[in-house]
Symmetry: C2
């Protein structure tokens, strides 16, 4: 570090971490009351907003890696919230969908969670949400690009 300009991004990282942690804490406080963990809730809402999908798609959308996803699905299956079934056209693939009980939970929990999260925004005030969102998106893209470059590089 030769000058201060190079470390001007540090506060952004700190704030991003702290803000996400605050979000996660607040969000999971409610999710745990529903008897789910955050990854489990992620899966339930992803499935609930669709007609079901295979593990590959589910993994892509939730960013849960396939090995971990198997365990998460196992626990949700044990709770009777989802089913796995074979796909005739590709028998490697497993189709995952909510059971009626899972759908019922989703129908109740999803709006309840939105309502709960909305409460946090009452004190956020009238900032320019769309430009804030865009900045976040650009930052995300910067990280994605940078990670790709790293993974390409020889260790």
């Amino acid at each position: 570090m030769q000058n201060t300009e190079q470390t001007s991004f540090l506060p952004v990282l700190r704030e991003l971490s702290r803000t996400y942690q605050a979000f996660e804490q607040f969000s999971s406080f409610h999710i745990r009351q529903l008897g789910l963990t955050p990854p489990q809730f992620d899966v339930v809402t992803t499935l609930g907003n669709s007609q079901g999908m295979n593990c590959k798609e589910l993994s892509d959308q939730t960013l849960i890696t396939k090995g971990t996803l198997t365990g998460v699905l196992d626990r949700l299956e044990d709770k009777g919230l989802l089913t796995r079934s074979m796909q005739p056209h590709d028998r490697r693939s497993v189709f995952v969908a909510l059971t009626p009980r899972g759908q019922k939970l989703f129908n109740q929990a999803f709006p309840a969670h939105l309502n709960y999260m909305h409460a946090a925004f009452r004190s956020f005030g009238e900032h320019d949400i769309s430009s804030f969102c865009q900045e976040l998106g650009k930052l995300r893209q910067s990280f994605s690009i940078a990670l790709e470059q790293q993974e390409k590089e020889p260790a």
Copy 2:
């Protein structure tokens, strides 16, 4: 949900999660190369930027709860990166500080990590970082306030 205005905050939450996940992935890619986990790195940098502190302070700064912190410290102690010692003036308190080897790791790894993270910002461009940071801070505060209110409420 009666109108779209009430769900206008949803994209923010999605972006915040995705951006943080991208950050975490990119950051931990480097941290793991140092032989540390993200919480361990958090502890090492917190200690490295100080003269040492007790577990309570360390817990407050890293947001790692005391029970978990004991385990993280155990593993860092096993690696010879930190020491725990008694405090004469309050014998309940444990003073935690980096060993010379821990200091050496910090002296090398911390600037290296900053440099690594800086790479991600090359493609971020010249946005208004300070206002972006302020928005993040306001959002964090909103979550903190909302969580406090929830914890007060009768279950």
